[in-house]
């Protein structure tokens, strides 16, 4: 789960990291009211889950009320990488002396935490890596719970920092490290970490990704979770399946992520596209499958459905019953092929056969896809 900038800054504040004074507004009236708290003017920042908002006008400066009105009118409702701006962060303007880059992230390559720092902040980390690789410092931490502040200080010495600024920077890094650990973060990035004209360090931006699987132990963060925008994805969440909306006309239901991905790949190799990615995980019940089939049938683009299941931990007889219940409302006469193997496969096959559903009894997803496409062609011809 990604946090918006102001949500991330709240976590920083709780961890003792300074952030500029600011408030979130959702309308012009609110903006005017809050603006009175910033007599020297304010930064007006769009709150979206996307990088690069500054480059397309998602961040503006307002010195007076007229400028504020223009800025808020432009940004509110603006679309940034497919997301509509509904919230704006108004912040005091800070005087910047220097910009640093600082982050902690999970390194899936070795199961470590990477601490990354650069005295050249403000641009994308990818950009720093390309333009100034010598300015990028990385430390692999295998056990984050054992990190001491003096170790970070000693590491940051390599960057050329010294004296008070070194100590202050290490202090922010240590606080960020604790924040990372305490909140089960996957990524905590401050870019830029600014040194103000009076020598204070402040997080001018916040990019935070929280581990979805750990949200159960962070109820305050969980409550920030936003509803998925897509109507199908919202329904899928309620059913308890993993779903991603796509643009093709073949619906997919698979009992594992790899199998679903492979089904999409096979479709692509036949010049077709999937209407969705759908993975049930290990919790198949008749209801879950019936709801999944109904969900796909309710998508007007779907002309065929491939059900691709393995019964390892999943009960195949229940799955078969679910398919039959799900397609009982198949008004559009959508083509359906079920490939199902594993525990209780014979019993499941006979249930499906009795109901007149086309089944594939081998491990070949290719065969199932070809059969489905044939049937879809046939329906079109009718």
């Amino acid at each position: 789960m990604n946090l918006l900038e102001y949500q991330g800054k709240k976590l920083f504040k709780e961890s003792g990291i300074d952030v500029p004074n600011g408030e979130v507004v959702r309308s012009e009236e609110e903006a005017q009211k809050v603006f009175k708290k910033f007599p020297a003017g304010s930064a007006v920042k769009a709150q979206v889950h996307a990088g690069g908002r500054g480059k397309i006008g998602g961040v503006r400066l307002s010195r007076n009320e007229q400028e504020l009105t223009v800025a808020v009118k432009t940004i509110l409702g603006m679309e940034i990488k497919g997301q509509v701006v509904k919230e704006i962060l108004l912040e005091e303007i800070i005087k910047i002396e220097k910009e640093f880059y600082m982050s902690f992230l999970v390194n899936s390559r070795n199961g470590n935490i990477s601490f990354i720092f650069s005295t050249d902040g403000g641009m994308d980390i990818e950009e720093i890596a390309v333009k100034k690789p010598e300015k990028l410092f990385q430390w692999q931490i295998s056990d984050i719970s054992s990190v001491r502040e003096y170790e970070i200080r000693n590491f940051l010495r390599n960057t050329g920092l010294y004296g008070n600024l070194l100590v202050e920077t290490a202090s922010v890094a240590y606080k960020l490290c604790c924040c990372f650990q305490k909140n089960d973060l996957i990524l905590a990035e401050i870019n830029p970490l600014v040194v103000t004209d009076n020598g204070n360090l402040m997080a001018a931006d916040a990019k935070i990704e929280v581990d979805d699987n750990a949200l159960y132990r962070h109820s305050e963060i969980q409550s920030l979770q936003q509803e998925a925008e897509d109507v199908f994805e919202r329904q899928a969440k309620a059913i308890g399946i993993s779903y991603v909306q796509m643009t093709g006309d073949v619906g997919i239901i698979a009992s594992g992520a790899g199998l679903a991905m492979n089904s999409m790949d096979v479709l692509q190799s036949r010049g077709k596209k999937a209407a969705n990615f759908l993975e049930t995980g290990g919790g198949i019940t008749a209801d879950l499958i019936a709801d999944s089939v109904e969900l796909l049938l309710s998508n007007p683009s779907v002309n065929g459905i491939l059900v691709n299941l393995y019964g390892g931990v999943n009960p195949m007889v229940e799955a078969a019953k679910g398919v039959i219940r799900g397609i009982s409302n198949n008004m559009k006469n959508v083509a359906v092929v079920v490939k199902l193997l594993g525990n209780q496969q014979e019993a499941a096959w006979s249930i499906l056969e009795e109901a007149g559903i086309t089944i594939v009894k081998t491990v070949s997803t290719e065969k199932a896809v070809d059969l489905l496409l044939e049937k879809m062609e046939g329906r079109k011809a009718e």
Binding site: G111, G256, A257, G258, L259, G312, Q345, V363, S364
Partner: protein
């Protein structure tokens, strides 16, 4: 011989007293797995279809010389259960549960490394050595014994790959699902190393998927292997920036895509299967006897 799971394996099941655990314990025993005990704190002195259950892993190890563990614990309790097993001296720990927090996994991984234990998972189907047994959830009826080793990030896709291999008259020495999470207990190259040493494995099939760089990392070891490695990577059709089911399966800014993985692996000498159904025919062209 096979790898990790063999005739000298004496396994416990943790979390085997729940609804799913009980069924899985039964299925594991039906296909020959040597399960010696169950461990669920609070359920000591009960049983799972005749299998004695203890409150502590240490007790199961003392009484049954257990040397392996398979877990069906709730995600939130998985870390404690894994750490207990590793601390009790168990050398093969198979963590089936999905939705384990990543910070928990990092701690489990560290503990396993420190004690020289092999941790498979989390979020994995487990391990099967056909005709010997399985610690996991794979449908045993689909597998036949043979001389092909198989490593997969995805459970369901490992069944499909094994199915194609078996359909063409070959068989599996050991199949391992390493797990679909961004951080997992054991890296691909560690398992490749075991297969390279295993006298009952002639060739290895690696079923990868988009996201992360586990496959690329394994490339270095593959280039030094004597045994051939056939690779299939799923997710050609995946859109960038969306997580597909497995938390690890996400293409981030051009990294983790199928093509970049294939390039690195093929340079390292791996044979690339364009489709999963191409795996057996590639295996057959290799100058080894696969039976």
């Amino acid at each position: 011989m096979s790898i990790y799971l063999n005739k000298s394996t004496r396994a416990i099941i943790q979390g085997g007293t729940g609804k799913i655990g009980r069924v899985q314990a039964k299925w594991m025993r039906e296909c020959g797995t040597n399960l010696v005990a169950g461990v669920t704190p609070g359920k000591g002195k009960t049983d799972i279809d005749g299998l004695p259950v203890y409150d502590c892993v240490f007790e199961a190890v003392e009484k049954h010389e257990a040397n392996a563990a398979v877990l069906f614990t709730p995600a939130h309790f998985t870390k404690e259960a894994v750490l207990e097993s590793i601390d009790a001296g168990i050398k093969l720990v198979v963590a089936i549960p999905e939705h384990v927090p990543i910070h928990d996994t990092m701690e489990m991984r560290r503990a396993a490394k420190a004690k020289g234990a092999v941790l498979l998972g989390p979020n994995c189907p487990g391990i099967i050595t056909p005709e010997v047994g399985k610690l996991g959830i794979m449908p045993a009826n689909l597998f036949k014994a043979g001389r092909i080793g198989l490593i997969s990030r995805s459970g369901t896709l490992s069944y499909e790959a094994a199915g194609h291999v078996i359909m063409e008259g070959m068989g599996i020495s050991t199949l391992i699902g390493i797990g679909g999470d961004p951080v997992i207990g054991t890296d691909i190259e560690t398992i490749l190393e075991e297969f390279e040493k295993d006298l009952e494995t002639d060739a290895v099939v690696l079923v990868g998927e988009i996201g992360g760089s586990a496959e690329e990392q394994a490339a270095h070891f593959i280039s030094r292997m004597k045994k051939p490695v056939v690779v299939y990577i799923a997710g050609k059709s995946a859109p960038e920036g969306r997580t597909l089911g497995h938390a690890g399966a996400i293409i981030r800014k051009g990294t983790g895509a199928v093509n970049s993985k294939i390039q690195v692996l093929s340079k390292a000498g791996a044979r690339i299967a364009p489709a999963i159904s191409d795996i057996p025919s590639i295996l057959k062209t290799l100058s080894i006897i696969c039976q």
